[in-house]
């Protein structure tokens, strides 16, 4: 057999694939399977007990609920931001563009403390809302705000490049063929963006349900009311209940994986339709 040099081949089991598998095993697969083994020490009944515990279920609804609401808010706000950053020119655009990344670079605990300072009843914004009976810090609303903050860059940064690469001719031809601006947007631009919008939103969502640092400060951590799942994991660890802690972690993992898988499927279908 003669070795022919090809710049690109689809079936390669060379060094690159080996490295990928090695890294993925070392950093993702082995640690995560350790999680499953540890939680297996609970047994099925023990695991069931953990999952049906009232407090955990309430935290579960809260974590996924607040994560979902925050992701949807981020979908709209992030899209708007990406749109403004790509389509318009204005002074200070570069600064605005780099500000978007701040939530990525900031330790989330700092963000949490800053948000709490602002939204606490005597805070910069909170003090104007308190007279009307609106409470933000130490309620689920505060959690949503924290999650919107930390998930915000995902949507902007996934949609922005796609929007930038969208050929102008697409819109021009739609216009020439008699489409209204609204039709151009919904029938021509939006379908192109849906895969990236979905990807960004799902990343924001994933980040949100696992978020700990920024939320513990603003949530108030009231059992059954504003307690999030990651806090419960930390709680169990503080009590040396390693198996139970990993039990909750496995629950989160399975749920988020299912959701991610679903979103990926939708995303694939959307991009396949684009051809």
């Amino acid at each position: 057999m003669k070795l022919i040099f090809r710049p690109y081949s689809k079936t390669s089991f060379g060094l690159s694939l080996g490295l990928t598998v090695f890294y993925l095993s070392l950093l993702v697969i082995i640690p995560l399977s350790a999680l499953f083994f540890k939680s297996a020490t609970l047994g099925v009944s023990g695991l069931w007990e953990v999952l049906t515990e009232n407090r955990i279920q309430q935290a579960l609804y809260l974590s996924f609920g607040a994560g979902g609401v925050a992701a949807i808010i981020n979908l709209f706000v992030g899209f708007l931001f990406a749109w403004v950053l790509v389509r318009y020119d204005f002074p200070g655009k570069k600064i605005l563009d780099s500000l978007v990344d701040l939530p990525f670079t900031l330790p989330t605990a700092v963000a949490g403390i800053a948000l709490t300072t602002i939204y606490a009843p005597n805070g910069f914004i909170g003090k104007y809302l308190t007279p009307y009976g609106i409470k933000i810090a130490y309620t689920p609303i505060g959690i949503v705000i924290a999650l919107v903050f930390i998930g915000f860059p995902f949507v902007v940064r996934t949609v922005q490049p796609i929007l930038e690469d969208l050929p102008k001719e697409l819109e021009e031809s739609a216009y020439c063929l008699g489409a209204s601006r609204f039709q151009t947007f919904t029938k021509v631009i939006l379908p192109e963006l849906i895969p990236s919008l979905l990807a960004g939103t799902s990343m924001a969502f994933a980040r949100g349900i696992g978020e700990y640092g920024s939320v513990v400060f603003i949530s108030g951590n009231l059992p059954g009311k504003t307690e999030i799942l990651p806090l419960l994991i930390v709680t169990k660890l503080e009590q040396y209940e390693y198996a139970k802690a990993t039990g909750i972690a496995v629950l989160m993992l399975v749920l988020s994986f299912t959701i991610m898988f679903g979103i990926n499927y939708l995303q694939n279908r959307a991009s396949r339709r684009l051809g």
Binding site: V216, N221, G224, E238
Partner: protein
């Protein structure tokens, strides 16, 4: 030619790295026997900075050896877990006996009889739980009974995540048990206390921030030293006038903050002797004075007396007198499905 010069660059980089690694190893081994790691909890940071400085001098005088002491601070439970998971601490100085007990049961790098190794159940200093209220005490909070009245905002951390919060809880529990005699009434009392909470921070420092900076609540249940620290910070910020007052309840808990040598690690590192001397130093006059300075109550009676203005006399009960032991208290109150869970479940329904 080009390849050759590249090679020499690479070689010199490799040599540089090698030299760095070697010096690193040498400097590490040179100090290997003379470093001590003290794993402690949050409010003792300033205390041990001073203790360490004084002990290093004393040790130099006594043995002629240089010593460097590293400190690690964090939530007490978290710190204990780090030691269990392999953090090579020579000594642990934690917020409650239960955390040291868990090091014993999870891996056993601390010996079972650690409580007998040093005087006073291995507690060189202790603290208690007091109330911090806003200036002028507008809600007239004098004792535990006032804290559970409807409409009083109480700030205390979550006992599930904070050692300090467990002391707060047990202080209230012990008071109610002594005052009202029956267990049902004590449960009722603690339930009313937690009905008055709107925030459960994950640690004692977080609760202080919520009360002091965010202006939430009427009373903060706090370590005595944490309350004093908040007072002095407030004085500093407001030109000598504090925005808060400390209220001493009629009775509170003896918050024993124990110390222990992590024998397995110390034996391996050959630091058993210096670790023992370090913890013994806490019991000396000099150590006790530094302790008093940082608002922990010293065990030494004469030094406590000399600081009577700082530490008003109040009736203190210990965990053993109300629940037998920390393990029993933990199991009954804070373990999953324990009293705290049920109280909280009912309090907020």
């Amino acid at each position: 030619m080009k390849a050759k010069s590249n090679n020499s660059v690479l070689r010199s980089i490799a040599q540089g790295i090698g030299a760095l690694v070697l010096t690193g190893i040498f400097s590490l081994s040179a100090y290997a026997n003379d470093t001590l790691l003290n794993v402690s909890f949050d409010p003792t940071r300033e205390l041990y900075e001073e203790i360490n400085k004084k002990f290093v001098e004393a040790w130099k005088k006594k043995s002629g050896k240089n010593l460097s002491i590293q400190q690690s601070h964090g939530g007490s439970g978290k710190q204990a877990r780090a030691v269990i998971d392999g953090l090579e601490a020579d000594v642990v100085t934690l917020a409650l006996a239960y955390d040291i007990d868990s090091i014993v049961t999870n891996g056993g790098s601390v010996s079972k009889d650690w409580e007998k190794a040093f005087p006073n159940h291995s507690t060189p200093y202790y603290s208690t739980i007091v109330f911090l209220v806003r200036k002028g005490n507008p809600k007239a909070i004098k004792d535990w009974d006032d804290v559970v009245k409807p409409g009083i905002g109480v700030i205390t951390p979550n006992p599930k995540t904070s050692g300090g919060a467990r002391w707060n809880y047990l202080a209230a529990w012990g008071f109610a048990k002594k005052q009202y005699k029956t267990e049902e009434k004590a449960i009722e009392f603690v339930r009313n206390l937690y009905k008055n909470t709107s925030v459960l921070d994950t640690g004692a420092r977080g609760s202080t921030t919520t009360f002091v900076q965010r202006g939430i609540g009427d009373v903060l249940l706090a370590w005595e030293n944490e309350a004093e620290l908040a007072l002095s910070e407030s004085r500093k910020a407001n030109g000598g006038v504090a925005g808060f007052e400390v209220v001493y309840p009629s009775t509170s808990i003896l918050a024993e903050t124990p110390v222990a040598i992590v024998e397995k690690v110390a034996a391996k590192k050959g630091t058993t002797e210096v670790a023992k001397a370090y913890l013994e130093f806490l019991y000396t006059k000099e150590g006790q004075e530094i302790i008093a300075k940082h608002f922990f109550r010293p065990n030494d009676a004469t030094i406590l007396k000399a600081n009577v203005a700082k530490f008003p006399k109040l009736h203190l009960f210990d965990v053993r007198s109300i629940e037998g032991s920390w393990a029993a208290a933990h199991k009954k109150h804070f373990a999953d499905g324990g009293l705290f869970d049920s109280i909280y479940g009912e309090a907020k329904k």
